[in-house]
């Protein structure tokens, strides 16, 4: 299934074409294609083991695909890795920043890795934006999970990325903190030139934040569309019901069904 095309004249910040990843007998990702435009938030949904993190890892260049092409802007991740990844960043619930460095030290370290210009000012701005100023000299390892998430998001915005990958960014946050973070990210997409790929198991959050969702099951992209309209188009009440139906539906039945 091909992803929605980005309007002519507007370069996609992410273009994934016919992406596949196999491990021996297992096809973790099977011919997945999609694009993300500037200022667009795309939700990548699917049950555990669907291949969401595999897709994110291939985009980040830490996992080589078996087939297909991934471009961040105009740069091919496989052939122009450094140029492509300089335009992207990510935050993931399973990739916390080193706990033995303070918040400021971590931001300075990653800022240098991304060759950020005006780094000191950028760090101060992000500390303020994510309400981390009072925690700047605290070691990340002793922060609460919510505070660690805010640090990870600050790090993810250090290089003002064109593509932001967020793997369950609000998984460990209380509802109030999660709402604040969603507001930050929504504002980032609306005001900046950033495209965002977001994975979450919280369908309420996905409906609130995402412009478009992609449903993935057993490595295949099953369907995509507007998260508000998609449930009604498939005869269910909301996104959560649609998720459950797709997750439980055998793949063969889904493939043979008319679209």
């Amino acid at each position: 299934m091909s992803g929605t095309r980005v309007p002519a004249g507007d370069t996609a910040v992410l273009s994934v074409q016919h992406l596949s990843k196999s491990y021996a007998q297992l096809r973790a990702v099977n011919d997945v294609s999609f694009q993300i435009a500037r200022r667009e938030i795309v939700g990548l949904l699917g049950p555990n083991g669907a291949g969401k993190t595999t897709i994110i890892n291939t985009i980040l260049g830490v996992l080589a695909p078996t087939g297909g092409v991934i471009r961040i802007g105009i740069f091919d991740v496989a052939r122009q890795r450094a140029a492509a990844l300089a335009r992207a960043n990510f935050a993931a619930v399973y990739a916390t920043l080193p706990g033995n460095l303070t918040v400021r030290e971590n931001l300075r370290f990653f800022g240098l890795i991304y060759s950020v210009r005006g780094l000191t000012k950028r760090i101060e701005l992000l500390l303020e934006q994510f309400e981390l100023t009072t925690l700047a000299d605290t070691k990340c390892g002793v922060l609460s999970s919510g505070e660690q998430t805010r640090v990870a998001l600050a790090k993810a915005l250090l290089n003002a990325p064109e593509l932001l990958l967020l793997d369950e960014p609000t998984a460990s946050l209380d509802p109030s903190a999660a709402q604040t973070i969603r507001g930050h990210i929504r504002a980032l997409a609306q005001q900046g030139d950033c495209g965002i790929l977001w994975t979450s198991h919280n369908m309420y959050e996905v409906e609130e934040v995402c412009d478009r969702v992609l449903f993935l099951s057993r490595g295949k992209l099953l369907l995509q569309g507007n998260p508000q309209r998609l449930p009604h188009e498939h005869g269910v009440r909301n996104l959560e019901e649609l998720f459950i139906r797709l997750a439980r539906e055998p793949l063969m039945q889904r493939e043979s069904a008319p679209r």
């Binding site: 993190t53 830490v62 990844l85 990510f90 033995n100």
Partner: protein, 267 residues
């Protein structure tokens, strides 16, 4: 290569050292203990042996050079393991950082910490036991160069082993210098080894260093050709180790090993 990412890798290690006395102490303590221990052993041997043999120069000098090599190797490995221990691979390798920049950062960190250790050893050996490295003259520079290069090569190789075999394999890499020491002829001439061990020794740059050191201290003229060969051999080992690390990294990206290093519970 871009300088800023390399500076980032070095700065991270500086932050870790600055923030932790546990990391500062081993830079000085173990080498100081080695020098003091071997200093008294050599002083005792000097007092009971026949005149003409200077154990301080031969044995204590050898200990100092071998410790420098070990520190350089372990400096690189420890800096790499900091990223393993803090589960930082995904954060680190999902950036524009190139492998050459990362490894260069690790090497520079190790050279800085090893230099601190070398200065400590030189001060202790000179002030407490009267060891004079001026006896080696300009020969000291190629000796240090060979051991530094081979230490870098072994450090990169050890890091590649940990990347390929997993975090638990750090227990395999710590004893590597001890494994090589019988072949490196640190304390005895190469001629005392059996033939098969001599063949191995000729393939290891440190063996030429310690042979050269003993020749000069015994009053013989230093042989230039073996030292030039040792420098070339050590540089070749660095090239091979860097290729090995790069090869293991590509395998880790292809197989999913790198991603799993951080995200064992992928969804």
């Amino acid at each position: 290569m871009n300088v800023r990412p390399i500076a980032g890798v070095v700065l991270r290690q500086c932050y870790l050292i600055r923030g932790s006395p546990v990391r500062v102490l081993p830079m000085f303590a173990w080498v100081a203990i080695d020098i003091v221990l071997w200093g008294f052993i050599t002083r005792y041997l000097d007092s009971v042996s026949a005149a003409g043999i200077n154990f301080v120069s031969t044995l204590l000098g050898a200990v100092l050079l071998w410790d420098l090599f070990t520190r350089i190797m372990q400096g690189i490995t420890t800096a790499f393991l900091e990223d393993v221990w803090s589960r930082n691979f995904l954060n680190l390798f999902a950036t524009p950082l190139r492998i050459s920049e990362y490894v260069t950062g690790l090497v520079l960190t190790s050279l800085a910490t090893s230099t601190a250790g070398l200065i400590t050893m030189l001060l202790l050996a000179t002030l407490l036991f009267g060891l004079s490295y001026f006896a080696l003259g300009v020969l000291l520079l190629p000796l240090l160069l060979v051991l530094t290069c081979f230490g870098i090569a072994l450090g990169i190789l050890a890091s590649a082993m940990v990347l390929r075999l997993g975090p638990a394999s750090e227990w395999l890499v710590w004893p590597l210098p001890a494994l090589l020491s019988p072949f490196a002829c640190v304390f005895y001439p190469l001629s005392v080894l059996p033939h098969w061990m001599q063949a191995v020794a000729y393939a290891l740059p440190p063996a030429y260093v310690f042979e050269g050191m003993r020749a000069v201290l015994a009053g013989r003229a230093p042989a230039t050709a073996p030292l030039v060969y040792a420098v070339i051999l050590a540089l070749a080992y660095i090239a091979a180790a860097a290729y090995g690390f790069s090869h293991v990294y590509r395998y880790a990206v292809r197989s999913g090993l790198l991603a799993r290093y951080s995200a064992e519970s992928v969804s």
